[in-house]
Symmetry: C2
Subunit: 329 residues, 2 copies
């Protein structure tokens, strides 16, 4: 590199008080206005964190080693950084910001680290969980738009644990996907399947995130739930889950995913339903009517919320590819 091309502010004698300004200056050469803004806020917060806590070298080194161990335990079937984001509430926050929901629509929640891309596509009525210890459960759902019109052809990803509280990928001898499926809503917006009643389970806590929870005196449990993800062009991508009401961990989810509107009661299949869906009468029953927001409506709401939040923070901003950046004009 030709040193004469070095076009940065002269930085010598960096101190507690001037380091932030100098890092911001050198980063301000970034040609992407959004990355520049993200880095500006990130550096400001990280430095303020160190100054407000008088972060010691030993604490800094512990953090370096902690983050390294979080990265190193990650694999094709384990994402410990997502877990870390989940248990600090960041995942829920980002989902809420990115996927604002108008009143009548289904709220989103955390994705979690156990979604996979290898689930088989199944027809309505399929049994998707083959754990013989699981309590059978019929799941009857619809997908509609905010005007109450059924949406057909929505791709729906569904995943849940087995009766021991473990996802298929947590079994070393996993050969085929189980407890998960991809379905498509029919022309009445209906999708239905046979599964098992969800159970509470701990998030993986044998790694660094589990150690952190222990130091914080927090339990690692999630209340019983079943994950759903909805995709169809023109509609806002919906990542959500249904939670069993009165679960012991309903109010202390380790990853902050519960929302009042996503709590459901577990019913029993009546004689008519039993005959119609081919299950024994009394089989446990989950029903839910999901409501998707159009991409356009979601985008408008997100941009409107963003500009309102920026105004409330006293920042003069404009939108760049739908996201706020400083308005320097």
């Amino acid at each position: 590199m030709d040193p004469s091309q070095v076009d940065v502010p002269p930085m010598k004698d960096l101190t507690i008080d001037n380091i932030t300004e100098n890092v911001q200056k050198i980063n301000s050469q970034c040609p992407d206005p959004r990355l520049k803004y993200l880095m500006e806020r990130l550096v400001s917060h990280v430095h303020d964190f160190a100054r407000e806590t008088r972060l010691s070298h030993d604490e800094w080194m512990s953090a370096i080693l902690f983050l390294t161990s979080v990265g190193q335990i990650c694999s094709d079937v384990r994402q410990e950084f997502i877990l870390l984001s989940d248990i600090t509430g960041l995942s829920l926050l980002v989902d809420s910001i990115d996927h604002p929901k108008p009143p009548a629509s289904t709220e989103g929640t955390v994705l979690g680290p156990f979604h996979t891309h290898d689930a088989h596509t199944e027809a309505n009525g399929t049994l998707i969980s083959h754990d013989p210890q699981g309590e059978p459960c019929l799941v009857l759902c619809t997908v509609k738009d905010t005007n109450g019109r059924p949406i057909s052809g929505v791709k729906i990803d569904i995943w849940e644990t087995d009766s021991s509280g473990r996802y298929d990928v947590q079994h070393a001898d996993r050969k085929e996907p189980d407890g998960r499926a991809v379905m498509n809503s029919d022309d009445q917006g209906i999708f239905w399947f046979k599964a098992i009643v969800p159970v509470p389970y701990p998030i993986p806590h044998d790694g660094p995130v589990g150690k952190l929870l222990k130091l914080l005196k927090r339990h690692p449990y999630r209340p019983s739930h079943m994950h759903f993800m909805f995709e169809k062009p023109g509609y806002d991508h919906l990542i959500t889950a249904l939670y069993l009401r009165h679960d012991p961990y309903e109010t202390s989810d380790a990853v902050f995913g519960v929302k009042e509107s996503l709590l459901i009661d577990l019913y029993q299949t009546n004689a008519e339903q039993a005959q119609k869906y081919g299950v024994p009468e009394g089989t446990k029953l989950i029903t839910y009517d999901f409501v998707l927001v159009s991409e356009e409506e979601s985008r408008k709401l997100r941009e409107q919320n963003a500009m309102q939040a920026m105004e409330a923070q006293g920042r003069r901003m404009k939108l760049y590819k739908g996201l706020p950046v400083p308005d320097l004009d």
Copy 2:
């Protein structure tokens, strides 16, 4: 786990506006007051960052994957998280906070990721760099206390790159440490050795941190320098480095390590020195008088600075094991 033992605030319906308060509540069970304070500030800053930037799900996922790759490239001889901390100015900041220096003492700077624990202990006068392409350099130093008294028996770690700008650990065929040594100051506080003239070099930029620097349009270079680390019971641990004045990267160090007081001029050995130290006349010469601070003086200054900073921030704090925590009495 017995659900009745779940002693946390009920959390349902978590939103952009109440998620932070709820995460703080659940973390407030932490029995260690310092970890509790660190987590409280961390969660507050991370959430504010997401709210101030309206962090999108895609950006969040990019960050998750970036941090994962930073963790995964780490090895026994590569610490990419330290690099990340270095290029964002955090390392310099933490060192400045943790090791405050009274006027007349030697300032500290970034440790960097290339210190190892396997350097051989060498006697005064040893040649520590065996690169035949390197320009020979005599290094004559003293270690004194803030009253100007020599300190004997200080353990000094020294490390520098070879003439190609690479540390020994960056060579795949490394068998023995080179370009590094541990020395001990003699009873006059003197230590001296033969090495090579330091050269500028890029920090490792073939990994995720290098990619980030490129996106920020920053160069990865460090100005020519030689690392020193001083340890002796009773004295504050000093991590520092000497920088060659007028290096092309003197004012744009990728890791923000340069300080005016650590800049040195490269001299040439005169006839008398050449004879005394057994090098050809005209050999390049570095001299420096290091001044260590006592542990007691450093601790007092650190605690005083901490309490002043807390007061300036309007925080009512007390010291716990020498570090600030909220004063709740």
